[in-house]
Amino acid sequence: MLNLSLWVLLFPLLGFLILGLVGRMMSRAVILTVAWGACGLAFLFATMSFFSMLGTTPASARTVDQVVYTWVNSGSLHITFGQLFDPLSATMLMVVTGVGLLIHIYSAGYMEHDPGFWRFFSFLNFFIFAMVLLVTADNFLFLLVGWALVGLASFLLIGFWYQRQAAVAAAQKALVINVIGDFGLLLAIFLIFNSFGSLNYHDVFGMLGSATAGSATITAICLLLFVACAAKSAQLPLYMWLPDAMEGPTPVSALIHAATMVTAGVYLVARTSPLFEQAPIALNTVAAIGGATALFAATIALFQFDIKRVLAYSTISQLGYMFMSEGVHNYSGGIFHLTTHAYFKALLFLGAGAVIHALSDEQDIRQMGGLRSRLPITFWTFLIAALAISGIPPFAGFWSKDEILSSLLVQATNTGNLWFYILWGTGLLTAALTAFYMFRLLLGIFMGDYRGSEYIHEAPPVMTVPLIVLAVLSVVGGFVGSFGLIGLARWQPLANFLAPLFATVHAPEVSLGWEWTSTALSIGLAVLGILSAWVLYRKGFAYKENRNPLYQLVLHKYYVDEALSLFIVQPVLALGRAATRWLEGGVLDGGSRNLALLLHGTSALLRRLQTGYVRNYALAILLGAVLIIVYYAVRG
């Protein structure tokens, strides 16, 4: 089997280095050649490896662990830089480099007039590099390296317009919350090394058995891993950075939300599924947090006015779906939703970017409306994406969302546990809310009359072509997944492709009847959501002041940011200021100043010994020599 994952990794790195070092002196055409070339070659090599893997049988031969070099070899600690190329990382590579490439192309149009053109593409390539490193690492330590680099890349890109106060604050927020996650991952890695003596996936998973099942250590490892996932994938209670990340340029939002970054958490849970399978408590936590996040974020998205914020909360909500799916043992369902979500969410963001670009940086839907005829390509692609995310067949989102919902219901009926029924209900409710707020957004932007005053122009082809490609993917992307509805196993190529990885999973028994029930309900609710939005916003979006306290609560995002600021950020800042004054000014600076004074005083006294007369020195030497001789004479 052809394995080119090292090249997939190297080209974006090369692109980043070239653009970062000499990009300033390059013309736009050269910058684009390097950036597109790096990402395009990465995609090409990923595709070649992927198809080579498809041609490899049996499925067990599809895993290659290629050791590039040994990084640490010290006692029992043996860490190699190896690249694991298996169906999961192949799928991730395709999504990361493929959607990443489309975003690279689109950015050329969106960032055309930005003075930091070279810097932007350098960071984009770096982002792709970090993400590729993350998904191809064959051990937990390099996973952590990729994990932290992705966080750094997001910091750089969110704060790309560093002249804006809000962008800098958002970048800091993202970095701080990501570091909380990194810390969780680091602790998990310590625990893993302590319990298994190795950090390699293969070694660690090989040591799992009935003896380790359900042990407290495994549960702790999984919960710590999930802390990392929650921070990276913006789940409760660490989701706050993602809406603020909208301060970055829109292509960055698309990259963070669709292809890279937030998918890392979903990937990690799928990658460590053998561990999670042994920790039912952790797995239930994953499902519960996923469900809570899905509903919570969907309700916030209902009443936002900033189009990018609506999309941001919808991303958080959709990630909740993926975690719910993984929480009920349906890992391939989570990955499936990850891929389809990458298509339609990238499309939504790029479409939103086209709208924002057309309106000269206007993001408030109250200032939009009636753009249907003026931005036709954007409108139709946005409509496709909205249908896909709402779960209307046959668009991509329908298949993946429905697989998740039906696996929730199947899990509920199999275990008879009320909590899984509640989780399923949450998923259905979220589906209805999703359909509603997506169409509220769509109708608000494109229907009615134009409410703003800017001159409107459709995006150039360099921006619309990626939209069209992603729209096509949003239509057909679901067909790689779920024909489980009609009970044909061989019509589930993606699940079968990923199956060797999840061999240890206790997959629940599938019941076609329940799946149909779930599907019918979710389609019904999605249509209901769309119809409600149609009734309310058909004539365009009209903002009315609403004093209802519940509405105000949701509008202000449950006052989470305010509470966070009041209870955590302000006390920490006050502590920092106090420490500056007392600890640093008083103890550290004062201490060192006193020490310096003490030394100054003693040396002023000792200096008197040094007379400057040559005879005194000679006498001192003589005395010393005599003392040495006496010492040896006495000692014998």
Partner: protein, 107 residues
């Protein structure tokens, strides 16, 4: 009764003490320099004595001590030249070569 190693050592010790006394007690910088030269030559005498009276095989065939003495003579000559130059420089600046009045070798 001929010359033995002890004669050389005693001569060396006497010369060293004379040189030391001169170097410490004399006020004239030239005289201090002369004292130092005498100390150096006292060491030379002991070196050559040890070298000449060593009968332990195979060290008796080695001339290390004598070669060392020649080195010391060479270095002493260089040192004397440097020291005299410094004394002249000090004299030009301060009109004195009395080491009791020169106290600039501090801080």
């Amino acid at each position: 009764m001929g010359l033995t190693l002890n004669h050389f050592l005693i001569l060396g010790a006497i010369l060293f003490c004379i040189g030391l006394y001169g170097a410490i007690s004399k006020r004239n910088a030239i005289a201090v320099l002369m004292g130092i030269e005498i100390m150096l030559n006292a060491v030379n005498v002991t070196m050559i004595g040890f070298s000449f009276f060593n009968h332990v095989k195979p060290y008796s065939t080695y001339l290390t001590g004598q070669i060392f003495a020649i080195f010391i003579i060479t270095v002493a000559a260089a040192e004397a030249a440097v020291a005299l130059a410094m004394i002249i420089a000090i004299y030009r600046k301060r009109e004195t070569v009395d080491v009791g009045e020169i106290d600039i070798m501090k801080w």
